[in-house]
């Protein structure tokens, strides 16, 4: 306890010192994590470039997208540009509860994650996107291992999407098969495209897939607060998970608690960053469709949209 108070004291002293030194940013590099999807990498590079233009030094480090919150908490990594409600909300909240990390801002973007199908599926099952129509077409999605039911390819189990619960609650004639990675889902869609086989998979927006394969989300009963916990909420009075996923999830920006004191100017800029769905999709497209390197894509985007990022500067 005494120890903790001493640390608090010295932290406060440091903060005072930092304030006295006219809030100059530390010369240590700001550590920016990169993950394995393009929009996050480009957004991170854009912010890194902005920091560099302010005179900060920046370093990029590749990490696991779930484990990163633990690293931010410990100060090994300084921030995270894309905290998706559906995919990372749980890890983020757990890290916030332990302390050392907080939300420094939010993008003006909505995220959606749910059952999704590419356009050629609709030709085989014209009633889509209604979930009841999908259920009536279940026979189209039968595979050898699905035991006569339709097969839905879900995301990795640790994304905790409760697809099986949804199937049970809505009484759908489907089985859930979990892919082991996002790449496995893309490979499945890519293979299905060659033979125009109908598939229904887990997908999310914004991401590059919508530009490669046009498609739509399945419309489940609308999500209401409490639908996943309270049987009374939702379509059936005696079931939980009897609804779709929230269609308007948040996308936040997380920062290490110490960032505010160590790099005050960069932190202030970070709090002002806010991108829209269209802007994020544009950045992903530069890499995934136009084949640019993420660094070049970041520069290209900044050259094309100077007013957007200059507004973040103080």
């Amino acid at each position: 306890m005494k120890h903790a108070r001493m640390m608090l004291g010295s932290a406060a002293a440091l903060a005072l010192f930092a304030a006295a030194a006219s809030a100059a940013d530390s010369t240590d590099p700001i550590m920016i994590p990169l993950h394995n999807w393009s929009s996050q990498i480009v957004v991170s590079h854009v912010v890194g470039e902005v920091f560099t233009s302010m005179g900060n030094s920046v370093e990029y480090v590749t990490t696991d997208s779930q484990a990163v919150y633990e690293s931010i908490r410990l100060g090994d990594v300084s921030l995270e540009m894309e905290v998706w409600e559906g995919a990372f909300g749980a890890s983020f909240d757990a890290a916030v509860a332990k302390g050392g990390i907080h939300a420094a801002g939010a993008h003006n973007a909505v995220t959606r994650e749910d059952w999704w199908y590419p356009s050629w599926t609709k030709e085989a099952c014209p009633g889509l996107p209604d979930w009841k129509a999908l259920n009536d077409c279940a026979a189209l999605f039968v595979t050898p291992e699905s035991g006569g039911k339709g097969r839905f390819l879900g995301g990795p189990v640790d994304w905790l999407k409760h697809d099986q619960e949804k199937v049970d609650a809505l009484g759908m004639n489907f089985v859930v098969v979990n892919a082991g990675s996002a790449a496995a889902i893309w490979a499945e869609i890519g293979a299905a495209e060659k033979t125009k086989t109908p598939v229904v998979v887990f997908n999310w927006t914004p991401n590059f897939a919508e530009a490669v394969w046009p498609g739509e989300f399945v419309e489940f009963p609308t999500w209401e607060a409490g639908c996943n916990e309270d049987p009374k909420v939702g379509m059936f009075p005696d079931k939980i998970y009897d609804c779709g996923n929230p269609a308007t999830g948040y996308m936040k920006i997380a920062a290490w608690d110490g960032m505010k004191d160590k790099w005050p100017a960069a932190y202030t800029t970070l709090t002002k960053v806010s991108l829209t769905n269209a802007q994020i999709a544009e950045m992903a497209k530069l890499v995934d469709i136009d084949g640019m390197e993420p660094e070049d894509a970041a520069k290209t985007w900044m050259d094309a949209n100077p007013d957007v990022w200059k507004a973040w500067l103080n």
């Binding site: 550590m31 994590p33 990169l34 394995n36 999807w37 393009s38 990498i41 030094s57 480090v61 590749t62 990490t63 696991d64 779930q66 484990a67 990163v68 633990e70 690293s71 410990l74 090994d76 990594v77 890890s91 595979t143 050898p144 291992e145 390819l153 990795p156 189990v157 640790d158 098969v177 979990n178 892919a179 082991g180 990675s181 996002a182 790449a183 496995a184 889902i185 893309w186 490979a187 499945e188 890519g190 293979a191 060659k194 033979t195 590059f208 490669v212 890499v287 995934d288 390197e293 070049d296």
Partner: protein, 643 residues
Amino acid sequence: MPPSAHAGRVGQMLLALAVCMAMGKALLPPGLIRPPDWLILPFADWINAAFFFLQNDLGLMAVTRAFSDVVDWLLSVTANLLYGKSRWPNLGPIPWIVVAATAFMAGYALKGWRLAALAGGTFVWIALMGQWKWAMETLSVILVAAPFSVALGLGTGVLAWRSPWFDRVLNPVLNIAQSLPHFAYMIPVVVFIGVGPKAGAIVTIIFSVPPMIRMTLLGLKMVPEEVIEAGKMSGATRWQLLTRVRIPTARSQILIGVNQVIMQCLAMVVLASFIGMPGLGQKLLQLLQSLKIGLSVEIGVTIVLLAVTLDRLSKAWALRLPEHAEPSPHWLGRNRLLVIWLALCVLGVVLAHFVPYFLEVERKQALSVAGPIDALMDRFIRLIAPVTAWLRWFLITWVLIPTRDAYLWMPFSAVLLLLAAVGWAIGGVRSAAVCVAYFGLIALSGWWDRAMITVYTVTVSVLIAALIGLPLGIWAARRPVRAERVLLICDTAQTFPSFIYLIPVIMLFGVSDVAVVAAVVVFAAVPIVRYTIEGLCSVPPELIEAADMSGATRRQTLWHVRLPMALPTMLVGANQSVMFSLFMVIIAAFIGTQDLGQEMQRALSTTDVGKGVVLGLAVAFMGLMTDHLITRWSEARKRALGL
């Protein structure tokens, strides 16, 4: 103890009992079908508690972080030199043309023109394909990790050689370390070191050190007594004996150890990028994430080329005997190659200064073969789609689902008895105890069902691999040229990053067990083919001649002479095949499985050390048990053949 008639009878009795228990499953109490809850020990909690104690109370965190700071400093030096990261000594980046010239000269000095062309050509390929920065990021980590690993391995090896007690403790630790899946190492590293290039370097060091320790130990033990006598007679101290006599005599083994370290480092390139190793691996995962197969194949080719180059260079170094030629009177004559190399370097730096193309080829200027590869892949998938659809249906319905259900249906007590029966028949009571202990621990860990799914995938994969690999090996062993070519394909298939295989198998078979088995079979078949060829080619020609003279047909020679003689070697292949399958089945979790690998992936993303270690040990125990049984059997076969 050799398997006797008595051991065979006990084995049969245990087998009969196991069958009875399986048949009478309905009558068994539930506690014998699956381990009851009170029997399951919370190993993961214990390990977590131990790690927590190490990390917080013992202050080990400070030690590991201090060590990682040293590694970090070294990494920033290599990073500056190789790709110009702004760190001390601020000299880099070295132009690619200079690195390529250096590799060329090293190859020439060690073995001549062919190796020179391979080594120089590899770096020219990397540069022209626009992968220079990524490859240098990778090499900057390997350049730090490999020497650390060699030094650590050499030191530990010498210690183990000096103290038989330490050797006895170390041996089982190394056995487990070499059969733990890669991911199991990574979780503790994330906890103690964090993420980033230094974590990548440290996980690479941990992974690559065991073969170095083993080879050092082996080399030191093989030093002939006469050499040491000679050293003693010339009045060497103990330290001089070690550094001037023993280690130089054990040179070949130690350098083979160095070679192994380099190969292991390259094997970690892709996996270590999960915890922040930059470079080729990280880029490869990003590309696969957006389904760019052509570009990821290019990176795969680079990794294979790097592995082959470094392998050949270090082997040439290891096998080169010290030359004691007549010293040339002129300095220039003695150091001709050194002078040429220095001249090439200066030329390269000047060239790069005036023509930026020779400093770094930018992505925009890079060549690419991605387009044709993607088109070829597309054509191939469309072409064989009907075949794979049928194959998927057939394997799922008639092979995989029935086998899987059977494995899961078996009561765990019957499985343990069955293993005891196999163990007893092969190696007597000791082997039976070893088998039951390993699988008993897996049962106690509470992961029985998932472990059975892993066992099922590995069994099916190794069987299919044997069905493909044995005929291929026999066919290839007929002509030396053919054998050489097939072995080259084996090397390539094995060094090619395993992640790239995952995407095509999903495209062919969908996210299903067939895709998982197909990916594992690629790796399981390689050692089977290789050791079949090596076993058949090393059968003494006199024996074959003798068989020919007694009028045996080619088929008879094969079945009654060559295959039985090659069997001990082929069993080594079977052993490695199981090991490779166990590693690959964990990686195949990225396709989508319900086995230990899936849980391991989950443990990595939640940095749950205890769970990761328990799952890793479960996989290691499967490997160790197979290793024990096959080694025993192979020894018995060798004795029977009088080898």
